[in-house]
């Protein structure tokens, strides 16, 4: 630490004084690191709201019948919870926060290719978020369709759908702009000597993600636009009364929204691929296999959307094809799991908090992935469709996968982002509570779904009571764990011990610059000669 401060006379990006001061220096900054933190802070706010909504829903389900809210409130809660979590946090999450902050540093660049566009994307994000959330407070009541906006309900319901749909449409633009920016950055701005196969795996994951963002988001954009036109101008697209086909809406929606699942999970896998070699002090096993499987997931992920619609009515051939492709897309994910586990073999492991997050990720991600196989099988799907089993499955993937990777990344890169260390024991206590709570919350839902409890109901029959109590108690424990984790991080930003350049002994480029980095990251652009994870 003393070393970094005496040697570096350039102020860090946190201290840098630009054209504007104070808050304006942040919300009009084109520095990729500040933009990354802007995303982080905004997401933290949205996440707290959505997590509280989730907790309230679990409290409602602690007993049969009306406990703390009625059916309509419950419907709008799961809609808002879904919209916020999916469109505002999980889809943009890792790329917008850690991609913005670390992609340029990890490939040895001073910024992304289009810094101004990058700032614009944050502004679009904020505008989209406010429009989407305004639906809750204005007009004829909060939307109650679920985050999928399924036709025909989305244009028949009397609730205030328009801002929600329009907000999601606008958020898509933010996603596209970030995607374009990252692709061009990686094509044009890698440091000298860093060829594609010397690029670290988190940038690789972002590369796959960006292509999905660019190629899939427009489809949902135009679909949501059609819903908007249908509601405002009565142009028939999906309304059977006007000749439209509601099933077509589902197809178009999932053509985007299934690849979106890979927008969520690929960067998470990238984070895990960074954390594991660092704390195993070992070259990652099968670098090429991880790269190829990243691209394979991005590609095959395009052709599996039909598995969301096994009970909606499709031809037999379509059903079989989608089912087989769904099983196929599991293979590259499994390859990655094997690579990570193989990296741990005979490694000298340093058990730090980020590594523990990565281990927990492996555990929950495997449960999520394998339960996905159950749902990908046609006969099982018919039985489990729209039950609590599905809810448990995608929370294990989306929250268990992306969420764990997000917190893992936060604990991994925290010293670099804020120049401070956090309290490790509190971080571990928080993780233990969160992990226990998480599994207590979602594991019973697999059982509930198998025994027939449908999703999206505020009420249930008595036989489901027991597991629901356990699940709700798990939710409370998980939220307490989250509070411990976030409090620890917020406190440490002020009181933590100053961080050195390379607290974890990482080998990628971000550990060669000061913590926190200076405005332009590198005094001199480095020349790369080695593989990113060269430990031996």
């Amino acid at each position: 630490m003393i070393e970094t401060h005496t040697q570096d006379t350039t102020p860090s990006f946190l201290e840098y004084k630009g054209r504007f001061k104070g808050l304006m220096g942040w919300i009009f900054s084109t520095d990729h690191k500040r933009i990354g933190l802007l995303y982080l802070y905004s997401m933290l706010v949205f996440f707290s709201v959505a997590a509280i909504l989730g907790l309230l829903m679990k409290l409602e389900l602690i007993a049969p019948g009306k406990t703390i809210m009625g059916a309509q409130t419950y419907n709008s809660f799961f809609t808002l919870h879904g919209i916020t979590m999916i469109f505002l946090i999980v889809v943009p999450g890792l790329p917008a926060v850690f991609g913005n902050f670390f992609l340029p540093i990890m490939i040895g660049a001073k910024d992304v290719a289009f810094p101004k566009l990058n700032l614009v994307s944050w502004w679009i994000y904020i505008i989209g978020a406010f429009i989407a959330l305004s639906a809750q407070f204005m007009g004829d009541g909060a939307p109650d369709t679920g985050w999928t906006f399924y036709a025909p309900y989305s244009f028949k319901t009397g609730t205030n759908m328009l801002p929600a749909v329009l907000g999601a449409f606008i958020l898509g633009f933010s996603s596209i702009v970030t995607g374009i920016n990252f692709i061009v950055t990686m094509h044009r701005m890698r440091a000298p000597g860093m060829n594609w196969m010397k690029m670290p795996l988190f940038p690789w994951a972002l590369y796959g993600t960006s292509w999905i963002q660019v190629l899939a988001t427009p489809i949902v954009g135009v679909t949501l636009l059609m819903v908007v036109l249908e509601r405002t101008l009565q142009i028939g697209f999906f309304d059977p009364a006007l000749g439209g086909d509601p099933i077509l809406y589902q197809h178009l929606f999932w053509i985007y929204s299934h690849p979106a699942v890979y927008i969520m999970i690929l960067p998470a896998m990238g984070v895990i691929s960074e954390i594991i070699p660092t704390f195993a002090r070992k070259t990652i096993f099968g670098y090429t296999a991880i790269v190829v499987s990243t691209l394979a997931i991005a590609f095959v992920g395009y052709f599996v959307w039909g598995h969301h619609m096994f009970t909606s009515g499709m031809s037999g051939v379509a059903l079989y094809t989608f089912s087989i492709l769904t099983f196929l897309v599991a293979i590259p994910s499994a390859i990655k799991i094997f690579n990570w586990v193989a990296t741990l073999h005979k490694a000298s492991i340093d058990l730090q908090t980020p590594f523990l997050w990565a281990l927990c990720f492996l555990f929950v991600f495997m449960i999520g992935g394998l339960s996905g196989m159950v749902l990908g099988a046609l006969s099982a799907n018919v039985h489990l469709h729209d039950t609590a089993f599905v809810v448990a499955h995608f929370h294990y993937i989306v929250f268990g996968g992306t969420g764990y990777a997000f917190f893992g990344a936060l604990h991994y890169w925290y010293p670099k982002m804020f120049g401070r260390m956090y309290d490790k024991s509190w971080a571990n206590i928080g993780l233990a509570m969160f992990f226990t709570g998480f599994n207590t919350l979602y594991l019973p839902m697999f059982y509930l779904g198998m025994t027939g409890m449908p999703r999206r109901y505020y009420d249930y029959v008595d036989k489901f009571h027991g597991p629901n109590i356990i699940s709700s108690l798990g939710a409370i424990l998980m939220i307490v764990g989250l509070i411990v984790i976030i409090t620890n991080l917020v406190r440490s930003a002020r009181y933590g011990a100053p961080a050195v350049k390379d607290p974890w002994k990482g080998k990628t480029l971000e550990w060669t610059v000061a913590s926190p980095p200076s405005l332009e990251n590198f005094d001199e652009i480095p020349t790369v000669t080695d593989h990113p994870y060269k430990y031996e």
């Binding site: 350039t10 427009p218 135009v222 101008l233 142009i235 086909d245």
Partner: protein
């Protein structure tokens, strides 16, 4: 204090064009969603689509196609003339492009108002009495040509902005990537029309 050149001054024409091309892909996919909807509904209602398409005026459609093709040519010529350091000609050619775009929009305006005065518009009485296929056809007609018209407006705005940059010499013979990008965007607008024209006017 800090004498480092700020990152904003970083210039990469190849990168800027790559970004524009990727953005054009997203635009194509945006319309792609509508093209899918069109093909599904055409497949389901072949007769109604045939009848409805006969309502449209092929002459107006053809004239508009020619106008857009010529405007694509003039904007491409504008790039050549800026390379030849002929600022005045560049501005004239860009102005012609915008003028042609406006003529296109005027034609479109008369076409739409004509339809609307015949009572053919989404939610109208006449359309409600027609077959479902016809409702879908005209819904798609208004949505797709409307979205395309919106792109024309954006393109005109973009080209007008670049014209101003040419005028102030911010775009000149050795630094004209934004002009190339505006031209790329304009070609995209043209290309989409090339697909819309046969789908709505010619296939009957």
């Amino acid at each position: 204090m800090n004498n480092h050149a700020h990152i904003d001054e970083h210039r990469d024409d190849e990168g800027a064009k790559t970004g524009m091309w990727i953005f054009i892909f997203t635009e194509l996919l945006l319309f792609g969603g509508l093209f899918i909807v069109y093909s599904v509904y055409r497949y389901l209602n072949p007769m109604a689509f045939h009848l409805a398409a006969e309502e449209l005026d092929v002459v107006v459609g053809t004239v508009n196609t020619v106008i857009l093709l010529v405007s694509s040519m003039t904007i491409a010529m504008a790039i050549t003339s800026i390379q030849l350091k002929n600022k005045k000609l560049t501005l004239i050619l860009m102005g012609v492009t915008i003028l042609l775009a406006i003529i296109f929009m005027v034609n479109k305006y008369f076409e739409w108002t004509g339809k609307i005065s015949h009572g053919i518009f989404p939610g109208s009485e006449i359309l409600h009495q027609s077959s479902q296929g016809e409702i879908l056809f005209f819904g798609l007609y208004y949505a797709m040509t409307g979205l395309h018209a919106l792109h024309i407006v954006i393109g005109v705005g973009f080209i007008a902005y670049v014209m101003w940059l040419v005028k102030t010499d911010d775009v000149k013979h050795d630094d004209y990537v934004i002009l190339e990008n505006s031209a790329l965007y304009w070609h995209l607008v043209d290309l989409i029309w090339i697909f819309l024209f046969p789908l709505f006017y010619l296939i009957t």
